[in-house]
């Protein structure tokens, strides 16, 4: 499996589908998992991007869309990993519990250029809100990305770039 080959500090270009989810979407997803409710997106093998994009200007695919602070999602992350999430993209450090859960579920945490939302919008080829649309910028967007630039923050063995 590819997750196991990547080491903390490695650079990586992501191609495929990622889902945005930040604070309120995490709260709802974690609650839905706990109550065994049907989830609005399939989390099995999913990559979650901690991002609340700016509005999409006319004629553009997406507005500015950089990462938000990952640690605010820490309390919900182990539940999402247990539900099948394999990758996360954000900025900043994670808690010990999250690093442990990443190792347990052989997932991976990526960093991407923080505060560079205009640049990152260039790598998004398709974007549409797919769940929790009432949350506005905190809705879940499905993004199709090409060569989206990442750095491995915590690898599947639980090793962190910050240590």
């Amino acid at each position: 499996m590819r997750n196991l080959k990547l080491k903390a500090g490695d650079r990586f270009l992501l191609n495929g589908i990622i889902y945005t989810a930040r604070d309120q979407a995490h709260k709802r997803l974690a609650q839905a998992i706990k109550q065994h409710k049907k989830l609005p997106i399939n989390l099995k093998g999913a990559v979650i991007y901690y991002c609340g994009p700016a509005k999409t200007p006319r004629g553009k695919i997406i507005g500015s869309c950089g990462p938000t602070t990952s640690s605010r999602m820490d309390e919900f992350t182990p539940a999402l990993l247990e539900a099948g999430v394999k990758g996360m993209v954000g900025k900043g450090v994670r808690s010990k519990e999250v690093a442990k859960a990443i190792k347990k579920y052989q997932a991976i945490y990526f960093l991407t250029y923080a505060g560079c939302g205009a640049l990152l919008a260039k790598y998004v080829k398709k974007a549409a809100p797919v769940a929790y649309k009432d949350l506005g910028p905190e809705a879940i967007y499905k993004l199709e990305v090409k060569d989206f630039p990442l750095i491995v923050g915590i690898d599947a063995r639980g090793r962190s770039i910050y240590e």
Binding site: Q24, A54, K55, K91, G115, C116
Partner: protein, 282 residues
């Protein structure tokens, strides 16, 4: 003679400032980033600084927000004594923010109820109104992202506290921000006044020009403290994105104010590298 300015005019100016601030990175900030790029020896840090500079270029060219967190709009207004405003000033500012943010497809990041959260909108702005001499109206819009706003620290020191204790507090506030607040930072510091006023000063310090030249503060004693702090902070090896390097902060800006004999408030308000603000005079 009294000059009359309509609230409607103010609304339009505020709307334009919101767009300018969010699309065009301040020249002084961009220059500081470029100079950091040249000085940085760490390859990863250099690569990240290059991305930040490229991001500013794309944002300006394509009218895209520099950062998706287009912030909470902080609006500083200085009203000349010789001015009379027709209409409601605060409502004009809020309407201007709403109209500018909508026009620029900026993010609606403001929740009405801080506890229940709920649907988000564009305003109200955080409005600071001050009086000045003359008959000009000066407006500055500072969209403040919350990745860095969340790292704000206030400490009420004893009046006999040593400057070294205060410096340590400021450096530790930066250390505690680690990679989360999007380094390289611009560190705003407010010293003196009351608790709330020190916080205001720390925010206001971010409006001052960012420069690494040592003579940018009127008081050379304060300028020396700023330089010393910048040196200490850049030894923390946090670096761009927190991945190491000598560029942890681009500048430390301190604002001071008289205070009470019993106290010494100090507030640290950090800005991410995307320090955005725009000013107009009517």
């Amino acid at each position: 003679m009294t000059r009359v300015i309509s609230a409607n005019k103010i609304k339009d100016v505020v709307a334009d400032l919101c767009l300018e601030a969010n699309f065009i990175l301040r020249k002084d900030v961009l220059a500081a980033l470029r100079s950091a790029f040249l000085k940085e020896r760490n390859n990863r840090a250099k690569d990240i600084l290059a991305a930040i500079i490229q991001n500013a270029r794309i944002a300006k060219r394509e009218k895209l927000a520099i950062c998706q967190d287009t912030g909470l709009a902080c609006v500083f207004v200085e009203i000349g004594q010789g001015i009379r405003i027709t209409g409601d000033l605060k409502s004009a500012i809020n309407k201007g923010v709403e109209s500018g943010y909508k026009k620029g497809s900026l993010r609606n990041s403001v929740v009405r109820d801080p506890l229940q959260r709920g649907k988000s909108g564009y305003q109200p702005a955080i409005i600071h109104i001050d009086m000045a001499g003359g008959n000009k109206l000066k407006i500055t819009v500072l969209p403040k992202g919350f990745g860095c706003e969340n790292k704000t620290q206030l400490k009420m020191f004893r009046p006999t506290a040593k400057i070294e204790e205060i410096k340590k507090f400021i450096v530790e506030a930066v250390r505690a921000s680690g990679p989360d607040a999007c380094p390289p930072y611009i560190v705003g510091v407010g010293i003196g006044g009351s608790a709330d006023y020190a916080c205001f000063l720390a925010k206001k310090a971010l409006l001052r020009r960012v420069t690494t030249s040592p003579r940018h503060h009127v008081t050379s004693r304060i300028s020396k403290i700023e330089q010393d702090l910048l040196k200490q902070i850049n030894l923390l090896n946090i670096g761009p994105m927190g991945l190491g390097g000598k560029t942890t902060a681009l500048a430390v800006n301190i604002e001071i104010y008289p205070t009470h004999i019993a106290g010494l408030p100090v507030c640290v308000n950090i800005s991410c590298h995307a320090l955005r603000s725009a000013t107009a005079e009517i």
